[in-house]
């Protein structure tokens, strides 16, 4: 058993164990939650938890229940963090003054009080603009966050900005 020799301090066995665990845990998480970008973070959290909890593994018990109770706990933690992040984003839509600069617009136009106009966009455009222009994610990161292709994200941002321009013009009239 690799874990038993890891408890005894065998570095090579421990490295082998963690290397074998990581893809198995990643596959398990992907089968449960899809290809979220938090899966990799969660796998690394699990590896650290396995390291910190390795003294609690009892050799006469099965390894899988021990491991997967850690995995489940870390996955729930990651999901909670995701939800918290989402709530934060929604709050930003309502509270934050938009300072993103859009081509062809003046400073006055850039300041959309309380993100009211962005909040009024349809969800796909709102998400795309918030992630790229407010949160500051790259196109690839935002696309991964929204589970769409990078091309689709760019289209959404472009269309979202177009709609914002129309809203601004209507507001000025």
């Amino acid at each position: 058993m690799l874990m038993v020799s890891a408890q005894a301090g065998d570095e090579a066995d421990y490295r082998l164990l963690l290397s074998e665990l990581a893809p198995a845990v990643a596959a398990y998480l992907r089968s449960r939650f899809g290809h979220h970008d938090f899966v990799e973070d969660c796998v690394q959290e699990v590896l650290m938890a396995v390291h910190e909890a390795r003294h609690t593994y009892q050799p006469r018990r099965l390894f899988r229940p021990w491991l997967f109770s850690i995995v489940r706990h870390k996955a729930i933690d990651a999901l909670r963090q995701q939800r918290r992040r989402q709530t934060l984003l929604e709050r930003e839509w309502r509270e934050q003054v938009v300072t993103a600069s859009f081509p062809g617009t003046t400073n006055h136009e850039n300041t959309l009080s309380s993100g009211r106009m962005i909040a009024s966009l349809d969800a796909p455009y709102r998400d795309a603009i918030t992630l790229t222009k407010i949160v500051g994610l790259s196109s690839a990161e935002a696309a991964a966050e929204l589970h769409i292709s990078e091309g689709a994200l760019k289209v959404r941002v472009h269309r979202g900005i177009g709609r914002l321009k129309k809203l601004l013009e209507a507001d000025r009239l």
């Binding site: 301090g9 590896l47 003294h55 593994y57 009892q58 109770s69």
Partner: protein, 219 residues
């Protein structure tokens, strides 16, 4: 090399051997024994116990039943809390049975408001039993936290609430013998402080969890 590979390399380098924790149930029983001994000793040291209590235990079956149900609930709660601090050990059945028995125990005092197990009497009255119940639970709580830190408690708030409930109810249970028997008094001055210890423990654990999460997210 990916960041995952880096992490695996750093975790496995200079790996220190660790001693497996052994049977967690033994720790639970050890904690229970030490805490029970301490609670009985301190209550006897701080004041006289109700003189007729031991005789009532042998002559009044319902009173004996109440004591046994309370004691069993505390044992199950402690066992469940200790088991749940080791990943992979089942604990829901034990903790669930402990909470159910604890509810029955408290329920018996509610029933006792109308039909008490013993003739209500002021005999054995302790003037500060509410404070005593609360304070005497503190050392068992601290000892439990100290022991549980050796393991790997995943859900710290739930574990803290459960072990604090067990610790809080230990003096509450012994006050059945040490203090006067009037169900309304027991509920107000023995049971409520025990529940308060559980709530306080859960609150502290929640705060500690949030602090450690914040410091991890904002190093």
């Amino acid at each position: 090399m990916t960041s995952r590979d880096d992490l695996i390399a750093s975790l496995s380098s200079d790996l220190a051997p660790v001693k497996p924790v052994g049977r967690v149930e033994l720790w639970a029983y050890g904690w229970l024994l030490a805490s029970a001994f301490y609670v009985v000793a301190i209550i006897h040291l701080m004041g006289p116990v109700r003189p007729e209590a031991i005789a009532q235990l042998t002559s009044q079956m319902r009173f004996l039943g109440e004591m046994l149900i309370g004691a069993t609930a505390i044992v199950l709660l402690a066992l469940g809390a200790f088991r749940s601090s080791v990943p992979g050990l089942s604990y829901w059945g034990i903790s669930g049975a402990g909470i159910a028995l604890m509810s029955v125990w408290i329920g018996l005092f509610l029933v006792g408001l109308e039909w008490p197990a013993l003739e209500p009497s002021m005999s054995g009255k302790r003037h500060y039993c509410v404070i005593e119940t609360f304070l005497y639970a503190v050392p068992p709580v601290l000892l439990a936290f100290f022991i549980l830190r050796r393991f790997y408690p995943l859900n710290t708030t739930r574990i803290a609430a459960t072990v604090c409930l067990a610790a809080g109810m230990l003096p509450a249970l012994y006050m059945q013998i040490a203090c006067m028997y009037i169900p309304a008094h027991i509920l107000k001055f023995h049971v409520v402080p025990g529940l308060a210890v559980a709530a306080l423990g859960a609150g502290l654990a929640l705060l500690a969890t949030r602090r450690s999460r914040n410091s991890r997210n904002n190093p």
